[in-house]
């Protein structure tokens, strides 16, 4: 019976995580539409529910009832596997994110790297979608997406090293505990900026949204997807936004630490503030060119991250 209990517990966790991911994505889509509307002096969705709160629920139900169009010229196996492979890692990553001192499902000693390892699976799903669709727009989008993720993963990994050096652990909980008094953003402001820019590129958000630049390549790697398959890419994209913001909160903004309010509230407040920043940036900056993208990644962010690492090391040893 003990086994059954464990199974039930795991099932419950899965239900909670999948439920949260869905609600989070619906909320973020609504939030994005509202933020963009306010920035562009519009109102955004207003009809369904209070200030259009239920607009995205209606959209989601519509999306689930849509026909699944499977083009004739595709490469079947990668095409059908790609949406699954996009969803799978995001749900797994959620396990390790601690939203409170005792509110986490899995406490891993390699938490930080675990998140990056499973993000690597997402990169492959982009490539499978692009290649499997047998459409030049999908292919172009996929190649751009993969190259971009690869180029910005190095500054991302390097910028975190400073934080790791200060607190001496890769455990996400341990990192937050080390920030009881001072948030690491004060010790590592440069690393935070590098991290934030790199995560924008990793999640294919504007101004780094070349993989799905709709004015050039239709919709990028998910041009040929419809209905629930498209929804899965969409869901994984918005979940990825939450994940990188949560990671930034844990690493630099003190995680759940904060006065008066309960821990999860503080955590979610910080995460959604960072996501709001990402949306603000999207509707402020124009899309950058691919050569600018590569120059920024390799020639500016990586050297800066290395300098940051060097300075941190020297200060720690003094």
């Amino acid at each position: 019976m003990d086994m059954l209990l464990v199974m039930l517990k795991i099932g419950m966790y899965a239900a909670i995580v999948i439920g949260f991911i869905t609600v989070n994505a619906l909320f973020l889509v609504w939030m994005e539409r509202k933020v963009s509307a306010k920035i562009q002096l519009r109102h955004g969705p207003m009809e369904v529910g209070w200030h259009g709160t239920f607009q995205t629920f209606a959209d989601a139900i519509k999306l689930f009832g849509k026909e699944l169009i499977t083009p004739v010229n595709i490469d079947k196996v990668p095409y059908l596997l790609a949406p699954m492979l996009a969803m799978f890692p995001t749900i797994l990553i959620f396990l390790v994110i601690p939203i409170g001192e005792n509110l986490h499902i899995l406490d891993l000693n390699v938490g930080v790297l675990y998140i990056f390892a499973f993000s690597a699976l997402g990169v492959l799903s982009i490539f499978m979608a692009g290649y499997g669709s047998n459409n030049k727009y999908s292919m172009l989008g996929a190649v751009r997406g993969v190259a971009q993720s690869l180029a910005y993963e190095i500054p991302l990994l390097l910028s975190i090293l400073g934080v790791i050096m200060i607190c001496g652990t890769l455990n996400l909980k341990g990192i937050v505990m080390a920030q009881d008094n001072v948030w690491f953003v004060l010790y590592q402001p440069l690393a935070f900026v590098i991290f934030f820019i790199s995560t924008l590129a990793e999640t294919n958000r504007a101004p780094f949204d070349l993989p799905e630049a709709e004015s050039e390549i239709i919709a990028g790697f998910h041009t040929e997807y419809s209905g629930i398959r498209f929804a899965m890419f969409f869901l994984s994209e918005y979940t990825h936004m939450f994940i990188v913001s949560a990671l930034a909160t844990i690493l630099f903004l003190g995680g759940w630490n904060g006065p008066f309010l309960p821990e999860p509230v503080w955590f979610l407040l910080k995460v959604y503030f960072l996501i709001f920043m990402m949306m603000w940036i999207r509707f402020t900056f124009p899309r950058i060119r691919i050569d600018q993208l590569m120059t920024l990644g390799w020639k500016i962010l990586i050297p800066l991250a290395l300098v940051n690492l060097l300075v941190t090391g020297i200060v720690l040893k003094l």
Binding site: Y13, N73, M232
Partner: protein, 118 residues
């Protein structure tokens, strides 16, 4: 070792649920066939569908190669960063040597124009 069995079961469960989601909507969704609908998308004109037989010129190849090398270097930095506070100065200089090798490689690539997009 830590017991990771729940993690594996969770992973299996998640895979199962995503499969079910994909199959379920296939049952609900309408299905009307039409030859044009299932063509590859190409804003109204005849689509290019011979991609599988074509060579796809990639400037991104060098990016992938460089990424691989730097990724391995960074991975070696992680165990070091965890113990950076406790280890002695000698170990610190060992790491410095490692970093210098990385920097020389980086400078070489930069000098050769490998980081420039043309």
């Amino acid at each position: 070792m830590g017991d990771f069995t729940p993690l594996f079961i969770y992973g299996g469960l998640v895979l199962f649920v995503t499969c079910v989601m994909l199959v379920m909507t296939g049952l609900f969704a309408p299905f009307r066939t039409s030859e044009v609908k299932f063509q590859t998308y190409e804003s109204g004109v005849q689509a290019e569908t011979a991609l599988f037989q074509k060579r796809f010129p990639l400037k991104h190849y060098l990016v992938a190669l460089l990424f691989l090398v730097f990724d391995i270097e960074v991975v070696f930095l992680y165990p070091w960063a965890v113990v950076a506070k406790e280890i002695g100065s000698f170990a610190f200089f060992e790491m410095a040597f490692f970093m210098v090798a990385l920097l020389v490689g980086f400078a070489y690539v930069w000098r050769k124009g490998g980081l420039t997009w043309d």
